[in-house]
């Protein structure tokens, strides 16, 4: 079924346009999209890194967790949107390379989970800004969730990076 979707997508005008490698400027679109993708990853990883390190008690700042999250959530959501747009562009250009790749599938699964966790952070803080600092039990829960989030984010970046290598057989890189 996925194979059928890939074959359909490969024939759409958008995909054919983007995968036309004879014109240099058209060909450059995807590498440049990847650069924007990488820059957004950088901003995203730093933001979620700071947020989760704070929950783990490894980052100290004078602001409350709610205030820190207030600064960081716009960065997080904006970079996720940019990643989605550039990612879609890249997938439309080479549908099989992404959609039939185990690294990509793992990445999307982990992403779905971590987005839910991030939404949970936001929602809990909106209901109660002290939610994560309220009691020792809450702080412990925060540490667990932060550890899980960091592992998920690292997993997402790693599986994304390895997409290019997971179709390879043996031999030198």
């Amino acid at each position: 079924m996925l194979q059928g979707f890939v074959e359909w997508l490969e024939q759409t005008p958008a995909s054919l346009f983007l995968s036309n490698t004879t014109d240099f400027w058209t060909w450059l679109i995807i590498p440049l999209s990847q650069c924007v993708h990488i820059i957004s990853i950088a901003v995203l990883l730093i933001s979620v890194g700071i947020l989760n390190l704070r929950l783990l008690g490894l980052q100290n700042s004078r602001q409350s967790f709610a205030q820190l999250a207030g600064y960081l959530m716009p960065w997080i959501w904006t970079s996720l949107i940019v990643l989605f747009v550039t990612g879609t562009l890249q997938t439309v250009a080479e549908p099989g390379r992404e959609l039939l790749n185990i690294g990509f599938k793992v990445k999307m699964l982990l992403l779905a989970v971590v987005v839910l966790v991030t939404l949970f952070y936001e929602r809990s803080l909106r209901r109660d800004p002290q939610y994560w600092e309220f009691s020792p039990e809450r702080r412990r829960m925060g540490k667990v969730l932060a550890s899980v989030s960091l592992i998920l984010w690292i997993g997402i970046a790693t599986s994304g990076r390895l997409i290019a290598y997971l179709d390879m057989r043996t031999g030198d890189f």
């Binding site: 650069c35 950088a42 990883l45 970046a157 790693t158």
Partner: protein, 162 residues
């Protein structure tokens, strides 16, 4: 000498086992640290997210240097797998040039921030002005150039067969 480097046990291991994928992944995270922090600092200094105190940016700068060390170590590991081909590649030469230029400018940038952030904070400045603004943008563009040149080494130049 480059052949000798390429034939060391380390280089051979990188080329033929998980060393390459691991170093490349580390290089991606190091890149997130360096470029990510530079972008966040740059955007704050240009007036976005005004509620972040300038003085809190000072704590991020040492982390950039840690990121750079990660990049040099992982980058060298990647390089030893094909040293001569990398050095002959125009896009890679471009990237190294930008790494050196960006690092020098970032040292200067670090000193400016250490010195000026308390003053900017107490003056309630919305964004940095004048020459400082130019340096801030230049620093960000230099690191962005490193990133773009690095990405394009996979596509242009001598590294891979067309």
């Amino acid at each position: 000498m480059l052949d000798w480097i390429a034939n060391t046990d380390y280089a051979t291991w990188v080329r033929q086992s998980w060393g390459w994928a691991f170093s490349l992944t580390l290089h991606a995270f190091g890149n997130a640290i360096v470029v990510g922090l530079i972008i966040i600092i740059t955007l704050r200094l240009l007036g976005f997210f005004k509620t972040i105190p300038y003085t809190s940016l000072n704590r991020l700068l040492p982390v950039i240097w840690v990121g750079l060390v990660i990049q040099v170590l992982s980058g060298t590991t990647l390089w030893v797998s094909k040293p001569a081909r990398y050095l002959a590649d125009g896009m890679f030469q471009f990237k190294l040039f930008f790494v050196i230029a960006a690092s020098i400018v970032t040292i200067y940038f670090h000193q400016i921030l250490n010195r000026e952030t308390p003053r900017w904070q107490s003056a309630g400045l919305a964004a940095v002005q004048g020459n400082t603004r130019v340096w801030v943008v230049v620093t960000a563009l230099l690191w962005a150039s490193v990133l773009v040149a690095g990405r394009l080494t996979a596509y242009l130049g001598q590294l891979y067969h067309a």
